[in-house]
Amino acid sequence: MSIFRKIYAWHLTLLVLLLTACQPTPPTATSDKVSFMVFGDPAELKAYQTLVKVFITQHPEIEIELIHIPGQSDYRQRLAADFAAGTPADVVLINYRRLAGFAIKHALEPLGPYLDQSAALNATDFYTPALDAFYWQGQHVCIPQNISSLVVYYNQDLFEAAGMAYPQTGWTWDDFLATAQALTKDTDGDGATDQYGLGVEPEFIRVAPFIWQNGGDLATPLGLTLGTPEALAAVQWFVNWQVTHHIVPGRAEEESESSESRFQNGRTAMYLNSRRIVPTLREAATFEWDVAPLPQNVARATLLHADAYCLAAVSKAKDAAWTFIEFANSADGQTLIAKTGRTVPSLKAVAESPAFLDPTVKPAHSQVFLDEIPYIFRLPLVPGWVDIEEITSAELQRAFYGDAPVAEAMVSAVTRAAPYFTEND
């Protein structure tokens, strides 16, 4: 690097630092004050407020500042912006799909050493897939709060009206398709579908389990492997739901009203999602509903959805922050959050307790989430994964709405995503 370039880079660094210095003082100025940033609906906020309240009664020497961002998308942007400004909250919730991007820049304090020395938490108390999802370069970086997975939500009223049996564990791709076809109806005879058998967002994270179920895989360390016959056949099967069978809304229908909204309004029989929508359904759905596992093909598989409590590397209150994370991930802490319905607890003891499995609270068969754990697959931990996911989803949507053949769309996804596998190496 020439002297000129060095001087240039240093000047720019100084300018950036100058601007950063103009930011408000981080909320971590005192050693006993811990800021804690979360996302979630009002019910979740209430649970986090209770969590903080109970923690403070046990640890009056630590002050917790709860920062709540309602939407997940806004939360992700706020999180990235806070880290960029050098002022993240001490404790933050991070999804494992975004972990590598922060971990590779050493923005997070590895929590493995804290966990090893903890008297309250033990690694064996957690479900392994959840813990492993936050394992980066030989260390547990964050401690998982939940272990959700992709399942089938179904409207029991619509199944009963059609005289159909509820989905059962072990159902096959053929069963799934036949059920969705039988429940797709033009109820007023005007030629337009009024009730869809299935609702799904055409995204990479939705098609992924079906690729695994068909014996395929998503990626190697060098790039996506969506061009294999197994992967292509699975994506084709997924795309055919729209292009051939019309059991899911078309693009104009989805643009007019999302699949999630259609399901909430009782006009879609089955809907694929993680545990995320349970609080909304409990509050808004006016019909009987429950959950079932995904269908299976040559293999049984579903996708891990997990968030974890992470500690910012720049935190000035690391010990106090760990004390809070320890409490939030204790049986008491996870029980409080599990009662919102939003999470599948990552602690086995809480997940297997009435706090999560209570059959009087919907969904009656929350056990489905636990039964799926042995069949959980996770997405690769790659720093550029968010970009890879966005590119692949865009290409998948092209095929899903009939604008391109599956093979062409997947080749394009593989090509466009390739640079992100070597980025940051």
Partner: protein, 299 residues
Amino acid sequence: MIKRVRALPYRTELGLMLVPYLLGVAGLIGLPALLSVGMAFVFYDALSPPTWAGLANFREILTDPTDPLFKIALANSLYFVALAVPLRTLGALGLALWLNRQRRGVGLYRAAVYLPTVIPDVAYALIWLWIFNPLYGPVNLTLNALNLPTPGWLADGDTAKLVFVIMALFQIGEGFVVLLAGLQNIPPEYYASAAVDGANRWQILRHLTLPLLAPWLLLLTVRDVILSFQTTFTANFIMTGGGPYYATLFLPMEIYNEAFDAFRFGPGAAMMLLMFALTAALIGVMFSFLNDWREADEH
């Protein structure tokens, strides 16, 4: 005894009054803009210090075959500017000509033209999202009632960009007011002379009104070119996020995605610089056309 303070010169007083604004502009616009120029030549992800990149960011966005998004966004923005700027200028001109003369209720009509301009961007985007809803929106319900084809609008890559142009056509209040002021600055004696000479309405428009309005039209067009490159962001972000399949990915959205979503500030800043250069070039072309036109007119 009251000490008399010597009054500062008038221009100095004015200058002092401007100081807070100049400081604000320098600190909030000038400095970040300079920083952005610098960022175009470094790799910077906000989590680690910047490193020198030279022209690599420009090479990446212009020539990398695996990342066509800048070129797509550039083409989309040019499409938008090419359609929206002339249509908005013509719309503002037509309405200004129509509503120039004092008559009953003209104030109400003028207010109606200006009204969509003051609607906050987010509300404006949400209104159009409903208007062009493919199943439940009033546009398609009307077309359906008339047994006409119902496009997918924002759900269809072919029509989605057009929606943004249509939306832009209703926010022409400022241009309308500027041209109305321009029209009212033309001395009525000119029209009286033209009438004495027997000029018809078209001849008056072509040889009198338009040449006299030319500086105003130029100002408006230059302003609109600059604005049209930049103002798609809010609607873009709320209504489509750039889809379907990048059909509505305009430059501001792509720059935002690159810089503030993916945290690749280098390529984001490089895109911003190119957009700036393109805007300047377009304005340069317009001035050059205007000069040619003036020279031709003088001969």
